[in-house]
């Protein structure tokens, strides 16, 4: 561990210069959200990360400037929801939906409230999803971005309700809907009512689509369980980030059930594409362009 730190420190100066160059010449999105993020980043210490796929090292800032994609091998890291919004939307066009919820804990599950409070402080998000309305190359859409860092992006009552309200907003205002999915499934800590969110969200999507609404589902890593088997699985257009894990049961559960190792690449985006469950795999660098294209093709 010490050794690794030493090695990383050695690269510090070189990468700092690189980062400075990139930051000054980089894309300067200036929405409130973007400005807010930059402000926070100024005070952050410089950190190094190693790509889990190619093991090359670079600074976190370098990674951020590259949409959280490894500049060497294209490995897609998890991307914080607010940063995805900045990368996707026209400058200053995004308006976040905010709702007030009471503390939700139907099972009175031990430690659940504390865990949520802790995560709220750490992630500065109140739930595992961020929703709002924004413009993509001038085209307005309702956007929901899930956050797998918040209790695995699991779906409880608040998340299900927030997603449903976004769908209903899109329906009411006749807007397209884009959901970036990332979830470990239904939220265990809320029991059966988490399961019922599958019905609630799917029902809302069905009604929206029957009225002619366009829904783009964009799978990001990982999308599994109750989310993959409800609103995530219902897109008119379904996109996926490269190598995202997407499936109903988690790989560990399947391995335990069938008693054998799973094949390489199983349940990854490419596997789904091969078996006919995604329209296209779209890397993050093309995200804005492809979504814009789809919105254009559906303009009324």
């Amino acid at each position: 561990m010490d050794n690794l730190l030493e090695k990383r420190k050695g690269k510090f100066e070189k990468l700092r210069v690189l980062r400075e160059q990139q930051r000054n010449g980089g894309n300067d999105a200036a929405s409130d959200l973007a400005a807010d993020i930059r402000e926070k980043e100024k005070t952050m210490p410089e950190l190094f990360v190693e790509c889990p796929a190619c093991h090359k090292e670079f600074t976190k800032r370098h990674l951020r400037d590259n949409l959280y994609v490894c500049p060497e091998c294209g490995y897609h890291y998890g991307m914080p929801p607010e940063k995805r919004i900045v990368a996707l939307c026209d400058e200053g066009s995004f308006k976040r939906f905010r709702y007030h919820f009471p503390e939700i804990d139907p099972l009175e599950f031990e430690g659940y409230r504390e865990k949520k409070a802790d995560l709220r402080e750490k992630t500065r998000q109140d739930e595992a999803v961020l929703t709002g309305v924004g413009k993509i190359e001038g085209k307005k859409a309702v956007i929901a971005v899930m956050n797998s860092k918040f209790l695995m992006g699991s779906m409880g009552i608040q998340l299900g309700e927030t997603v449903t309200l976004a769908v209903e907003y899109a329906e009411k205002h006749n807007l397209p809907l884009i959901i970036f999915t990332a979830s470990g499934g239904a939220r265990m800590q809320e029991g059966i009512l988490s399961l019922m969110q599958m019905a609630k969200t799917s029902t809302a999507i069905e009604r929206f689509q029957k009225k002619g609404g366009l829904y783009i589902a964009y799978f990001t890593h990982p999308t599994t369980g109750g989310v993959s088997a409800s609103f995530a699985g219902l897109g008119d257009i379904t996109l996926a980030e490269p190598k995202a894990l997407v499936g109903f049961a988690g790989p560990r559960v399947i391995e335990q059930t069938i008693g054998q190792k799973l094949p390489e690449g199983f349940q990854r985006s490419e596997y789904l594409e091969e078996h006919g469950f995604v329209d296209q795999i779209v890397p993050r660098s093309k995200m804005r362009q492809v979504i814009s294209q789809i919105l254009t093709l559906h303009q009324k």
Partner: protein
């Protein structure tokens, strides 16, 4: 099997009521009435419909068209099988995507011909396997949830045994959801729950306590509409009592539901699931 019965007898002898874990065991009791018995007793002229018509027949979903007191209905549910050979043939009641698509095919036809749909829920969950994933387990379940929500015919679901996870809900988006007294309905099995949250599958008893998976709990939550009482010691000890109660219940409910228009039925089903969790999410 005898173990479960003697455990229950002991509880009853002490003048106590079966707790959550006892109910989990009762719900899984090998002799608990199965879908074929419900269909035999409650319906006439049953015509079985097999296949998803996309390449596979999945025995873990069983159903078809039948008459209920002279009225054509579509009836379907999970099939666990009555003995080991049957258990294996229908994968212990754990459907793959083909099973859900088979159910959807039956339900879509029911809507076309204006038949009410009655479903019987009894599954350990959707099957977690390679082929199930390959052929779109998630997609099949999601499609059922969405399609059921907008159907223009009455849908009644009865949880008769284990109602576990999305695999149960995939045939459970109904106007009315009923549950047998000792059935359980949950996000996951207690074993799965404790292994995910506590990394220890052996704490299933404790999990069953905190999960709130009994019919009483679910009635309080508004997830189910009514509890169907079972004979003392469980449905398997006197199945005809349960069949009779379900018969009366279906008569009553179908009379009310069939008087409503298709769009009214879809709207009220939408409202049911839209507002189910309201008591927990609305600020006081």
């Amino acid at each position: 099997m005898e173990e479960i019965d003697s455990r229950i007898d002991e509880i009853l002898a002490q003048g106590k009521k079966p707790g959550p874990m006892d109910k989990v065991l009762l719900a899984r009791h090998p002799k608990r009435p199965k879908i074929n018995q419900y269909i035999d007793y409650l319906f006439t002229n049953f015509f079985e419909q097999k296949g998803d018509f996309l390449g596979k027949e999945d025995g873990s979903i069983f159903g078809g068209i039948a008459l209920f007191h002279g009225m054509p209905v579509t009836v379907l549910g999970h099939r666990k099988g009555n003995d080991l050979q049957e258990n294996i043939a229908c994968n212990f009641g754990m459907p793959g995507p083909e099973g859900y698509r088979k159910a959807l095919r039956m339900m879509t036809q029911a809507e076309k011909f204006g038949r009410p749909i009655i479903t019987f829920i009894d599954t350990p969950g959707a099957y977690p396997g390679i082929e199930a994933e390959m052929y779109g387990q998630s997609q099949a379940i999601a499609r059922n949830l969405a399609a059921m929500s907008s159907m223009q015919v009455p849908i009644i679901a009865i949880v008769t045994g284990e109602g576990s996870s999305g695999g149960a809900l995939a045939i459970g988006v109904a106007n009315k959801v009923f549950m047998l007294e000792h059935a359980v309905y949950s996000i996951l099995s207690p074993e799965g729950f404790s292994s995910i949250l506590w990394n220890d599958a052996s704490r299933k008893e404790e999990a069953s306590e905190v999960m709130k998976l009994t019919a009483d709990d679910l009635l309080k939550f508004g997830v189910i509409d009514e509890i169907i009482p079972e004979p003392i010691g469980g449905a398997h000890r006197a199945p005809t009592i349960v069949f009779e109660r379900i018969d009366q219940l279906l008569c009553r409910e179908l009379k009310t539901l069939c008087a409503k228009s298709g769009s009214e039925l879809a709207r009220s089903r939408y409202q049911k699931f839209r507002t189910m969790d309201e008591q927990f999410r609305v600020m006081e």
